[in-house]
Amino acid sequence: MTGTPLGVQSVLRHAPDLVIEEFDDALLIWDERGGHLHHLDLVASVVWDELDGRRSLAEVSVELAATLQGGGDHIETDVLRLAETLLAEGLLEPASTSAEGEEPVTNGRREA
């Protein structure tokens, strides 16, 4: 199964085995499985907090756009791009199938 590419209807959640330290302007995340330390700046941290495994990337984008009060013209694209990066780095994982009949999203790595 290769799955479908990430889309705005995808629902993502934080991967397990992460150690997270929150600061006012950033997050530091230690990925126990991957053995990597990640630094998320303030903007990425805000998006990260919204990825709760219940709402789609589109819903998260709408919410963030409302919070930014008109400052989010390209927010859906930015959220999608960030999610792709975090998924590829193993910090996020699919929370569910995006819609009935669709395959689970993948992080771009083909499974054997």
């Binding site: 150690v19 330290e21 600061f23 006012d24 530091l28 230690w30 126990e32 053995g35 330390l37 630094h39």
Partner: protein, 274 residues
Amino acid sequence: VNPVYGAHGHRFTVVTDERSLAARAERALATLRSANGTAPGSYRITRREGLLDLAFEGELIGSRASEDSVLLLLHWHVNQRVIDTAAEHRTTFHAAAARSPSGNGILLPAPMESGKTTTVTGLLCAGWSYLTDEAAAVDLDGTVWAYPKPLTIDRGSWPLFPHLEPPEVADTASSWLVTAPEAGASVVERASVCSIVFPAYRRDEATDLTPLSPSEAALRLAQSTFQFDRHGARDLRCVSTLARTIPAYELTIGALDQAIDRLQRLDEGQANAA
């Protein structure tokens, strides 16, 4: 009886028939003398076909042509072992550390060639006490534990400390090994870190001390941690706690005397605030 040396659980003796070398090793390792602990491992230095072989527990580490070089090789190996054992028990930074006369500890994390040893040597010459110039093991509460190895002062810093030139150093040597007492300083077992300063030597730039945010300090501390990949969860918690509770700065070093003056004033400010 050979003296026993040690730090952070790495205990060792140095055995050699070379009398001059034995005396130099004993002088350079004086601040690592260790009374108690587990049975020590044994370094042995022997002369073979014009070279000096260094072995630990019977295994050859390397061969060098001069006493200066084999002493530096010995210290390199001791460093690796001490760092390994220290990092097993505590978050251990690639850092220098010292304690001010008022009792405040300073942690100076930085990569090689950034000015750690030069900065801490400058502090010792200004009356501070010594903890380390290489590896600082730190508890979650900010206690830093000493690894009082000899200062390894590289050739580029020799003009700053001409009074510290050891006897018996060849013209070809790359570094001086100087103990803290030889620099006029005492050694302390531990200190409470009151400031974290990341030194960065930048020739021709103005000396400056710039505050860092807690997140920036935590990230830099993580990048300065030995074996972070082996103890990531423990070490991330430690660096984050330290960064949230202890003020952190970047120290751009254009001139050493000005840098030491900045650190002295920082310490005075903390002492007055306390």
